[in-house]
């Protein structure tokens, strides 16, 4: 018996690695009237709809997906943000 889950995953560039996109966004925000903005970092947000026996199992499988495919271990960190039953 399995149930449906929506898993929200974030994959972000590891600290210390140049993030030109984050910098471009910060610059653009400054000139758009948001001078208060400091650092910006841009990563990926992945939403996976899946089935699993339970939330724990869904989370485990999601971590495997990240290790195998969704994140590059050389440059990125990932986090399973949430596993939502649907």
């Amino acid at each position: 018996m399995t149930a449906s889950f929506r898993i929200e995953i974030r994959v972000v560039p590891r600290r210390g690695i140049l993030d030109p996109q984050g910098k471009a966004v910060a610059d653009a925000l400054h000139s758009l009237g948001f001078p208060e903005v400091g650092d910006v970092r841009v990563g990926r947000h992945v939403v996976v709809e899946t089935r699993a026996a339970d939330a724990a199992e869904a989370g485990r499988r999601a971590a495997e997906m990240c290790e195998k495919l969704l994140a590059n271990p050389v440059t990125e960190d990932f986090e399973i943000e949430q596993v939502v039953p649907v």
């Binding site: 560039p13 993030d19 996109q21 471009a24 966004v25 610059d27 653009a28 000139s31 758009l32 841009v42 990563g43 990926r44």
Partner: protein, 769 residues
């Protein structure tokens, strides 16, 4: 079985009919054709097929006047793309297409999907795409919104073409306030095929299955075709259809699968599902074959649940094709698609009964007398009247306009012109395009025309898109003639014999007499030029209603020209190559200043009569140039266009980024002309040639009764460009010229990055971070 309205469909009211862009007159025609009230699905079908975009109802009578034939034309207008023979059993397919409206709403996706559509038009002819060109127009680059549109469009074109792996080899970019609210994004594709592989999109063979191939159908861009047939008002902004998102990866697979299918012998016809999607592709293929078709919308692979026949028929989801296969070969077709990870679904068949029928399972939801669905759309020839205001602009005495004090130094004026974003180097743009993939680009962006070799032969094609909207605004007849002549001249400069054109008519609302006048006159001028230069029209596209509450765009009939280079040795670059070569000017300088970039950039004026084109002279110029090139006498050739002779000389000097060369030029033979007209006027029929054999070049021109005169010599770069003219001598430093030319657009765009005041400048599009 009779047609039955679907439960839940809206009832047909005059308001609903009007919302579908169908006039009361057209609705009468529809009632007469059907002999009954249409269903909602039928109303949708007709609104798409009878939209301006699909039916050409305001342009067809004019387009009929264009020359379309020549011994080398294998396929003229009416198919997905035109095709010409180039010898050795090879043929070239090419077509231009606009994506103006979608790009105004979402520049990145709008431009990207424009490239996708034109690629499909070419590969559905059985041709492998070998080159892309883009013709772009925006408002003033000082405006943040314009910079947003410009950068989004360029990225969209690049990302799509680069991913599919077709080089973008040439184009043009013009900035003028006339395009402020309505940017123009036209893309052209050129493909290569063996003559015997040519396939036409004609449905044939009763019982043959109709197969939907490629991406699934979603609710994207429903009513895109009719949307492209209206002005861009705020109300339209609100009802804009869901944006189409391009998937160049799927396109690449579709390209390979389609070519494999065509060569497999399992299919009889293939057509892109472009504007008005499934509806127009199926109706047009049926009409061309004079057969009937039946389509079951429940068989169409859908991306979303609960899609109605109306939505499935009108969706403009990208990267889809419609195929008519040979009966019994369905599995072979599916196997080829499967190899490329694509799906194929039989959704209908060719029938003997001459009807266009759509079912939803067992229910017939639409049925028309086949061919009349396409042919019964009325055509219009509205009133045409030139605008008095424009006539007055043209009749302005531009010679009387006083010079600015700064103009006492012609180098100031020259620098000002070179740094005009319209004239300046477009390297910022084409550096973002893969211009070299397929390793056949002999001359890429930056030359007069691009040259792409035809592998396996000693030949090449020379390609150019061109139009001067300001000329066309001031005088649409002369302006359109000029666009053809300039494209041909550019092709000849690169060593190619002009062969045929495709064209994109970008205009305002044809129901306004001054706009219809422009359209009529432009088509007349284009036709005349094409006849004179023996470059028939093999196809094109019409984009009307490019206007907003502030007015219409300049009339912009973009010409996409294909020329044939008979031997690779004839390929000629635009820039100087050797110090010591003589510089020969082909053609005559005149006092003309009207319509020039000089008046626009220095005086802020679009005024005066645009330069006259003498078509007979242009033909002799092309012959002279090609003879001199074939004789091995020409080291470089560059035509004089925007900015005139001085700009052309500067471009010859700094055109090769890796090696500048100076020039010492004496124009005192024309001391009788006003200096600014001599240096910056845009007289037609002029080409700057550099040569080690000036006598041979001059003699060749003389044989064709064409003016030619040695005006100077190429010099080592330290010299700059000293010019003697009008009793004086001035020198432009190469570094300053190169900086004005190369730096203008990057400087404006970098400023944009730090001072953007509108959304989206650095919006991270659908790219991986």
């Amino acid at each position: 079985m009779p047609v039955t309205p679907r439960p839940g469909d809206p009832t047909i009211t005059p308001a609903l009919v009007a919302e579908h862009g169908i006039t009361p007159f057209e609705y009468e025609r529809l009632l007469a054709m059907l002999g009954r009230e249409p269903t909602f699905t039928e109303l949708g079908i007709v609104s798409a097929l009878w939209s301006e975009h699909c039916s050409y109802k305001h342009s067809r009578p004019l387009l009929r006047t264009l020359p379309t034939e020549a011994p080398w034309v294998l396929q003229g207008p009416g198919e997905n793309a035109g095709v010409i023979a180039v010898g050795d059993g090879l043929a070239v397919a090419f077509k231009i297409e606009s994506h103006n409206h979608p790009s105004a709403v979402e520049p990145y996706q709008g431009a990207a999907t424009g490239v996708g559509g034109i690629l499909r038009d070419v590969f559905t002819m059985g041709a492998r795409p070998i080159a892309l060109l883009d013709s772009l127009r925006f408002g003033d680059l000082e405006s943040p919104r314009v910079r947003y549109l410009f950068s989004g469009v360029v990225k969209g074109i690049g990302d799509y073409g680069n991913c599919v792996g077709i080089p973008t080899v040439a184009g043009e970019v013009v900035f003028d306030p006339a395009y402020e609210g309505n940017p123009l994004v036209n893309a052209m594709c050129v493909g290569l095929l063996k003559e015997e592989e040519l396939i036409r999109a004609v449905a044939q063979g009763v019982g043959n299955p109709i197969i939907a191939v490629g991406a699934r159908t979603g609710r994207d861009g429903i009513h895109g075709a009719s949307f492209a047939s209206e002005d861009l008002s705020e109300e339209n902004e609100a009802k804009r259809p869901r944006v189409q998102v391009g998937d160049p990866f799927t396109e690449k697979l579709l390209l390979e699968a389609s070519l494999e299918l065509i060569r497999s012998g399992h299919i009889v016809a293939i057509q892109d599902m472009g504007a008005a999607g499934l509806t127009s592709s199926s109706a047009e293929m049926a009409a061309r074959g004079d057969v009937g078709v039946v389509i079951d919308t429940t068989k169409v692979p859908a991306r979303e649940e609960g899609m109605t026949p109306y939505e499935l028929l009108l969706s403009e989801s990208q990267e889809r094709m419609l195929v008519v296969a040979k009966k019994g070969h369905e599995d072979d077709v599916a196997a080829i698609l499967q190899k490329w990870d694509l799906t194929a679904a039989v959704i209908g068949e060719v029938i003997a009964e001459p009807v266009y029928r759509v079912t939803e399972g067992d229910r017939v939801v639409a049925e028309f007398p086949g061919i009349r669905l396409v042919t019964d759309c009325p055509t219009y020839e509205p009133e045409a009247r030139e605008s008095d205001a424009i006539r007055a602009q043209r009749e302005t005495d531009v010679a009387a306009i006083a010079e600015l004090p700064e103009e006492s130094d012609p180098v100031w004026t020259l620098t000002r012109l070179l740094s005009s974003p319209t004239i300046a180097s477009k390297r910022w743009v084409h550096r973002q395009y893969d211009t070299m993939v397929r390793t056949s680009t002999v001359i890429g962006p930056g030359g007069d025309a691009a040259v792409v070799r035809l592998r396996g032969t000693d030949k090449a094609v020379a390609l150019k898109v061109d139009c001067n909207g300001r000329y066309c605004h001031l005088d649409p007849y002369e302006g359109a003639k000029q666009a053809v002549a300039e494209a041909a001249r550019n092709v000849a400069c690169a060593g190619g014999r002009p062969k045929a054109i495709t064209n994109n008519l970008n205009f305002g609302n044809p129901k306004r007499p001054e706009v219809y006048f422009q359209l009529r006159e432009a088509v007349r001028g284009m036709g005349e030029a094409c006849r004179a230069l023996q470059t028939p029209v093999t196809g094109g596209n019409v984009s009307l209603y490019n206007e907003n509450p502030n007015g219409a765009i300049y009339p912009t009939p973009v010409i996409g020209m294909v020329g044939l280079v008979e031997a690779i040795a004839h390929v000629t670059p635009a820039h100087f190559r050797r110090a010591g070569d003589a510089i020969v000017l082909l053609g005559e300088n005149t006092a003309e200043l009207g319509g020039s970039e000089y008046l626009q950039r220095v005086h802020g004026l679009a005024a005066g009569a645009p330069p006259r084109v003498d078509l007979d002279a242009e033909r002799r110029l092309i012959d002279a140039l090609l003879d001199a090139i074939a004789g091995g006498h020409v080291a470089s050739a560059h035509d004089c266009s925007d900015g005139g002779l001085a700009v052309a000389l500067a471009e010859c000097a700094v055109g090769d980024e890796e090696r500048w060369l100076g020039a010492d030029v004496d124009l005192s033979a024309w001391d009788a002309l006003p200096r600014r007209a001599l240096l910056f006027g845009e007289a037609q029929g002029r080409v700057v040639v550099s040569t080690a054999a000036p006598d041979a070049v001059v003699a060749t021109a003389a044989r064709l009764a064409y003016a030619a005169r040695v005006v100077g010599a190429v010099a080592a770069d330290a010299h700059g460009v000293p010019v003697t003219a009008a009793g004086g001598r001035f020198t432009a430093a190469l570094a300053a010229l190169a900086d004005a030319d190369g730096g203008a657009i990057p400087r404006l765009m970098e400023r944009a990055a730090s001072a953007s005041a509108t959304a989206g400048e650095s919006r991270p599009h659908h790219t991986t971070p």
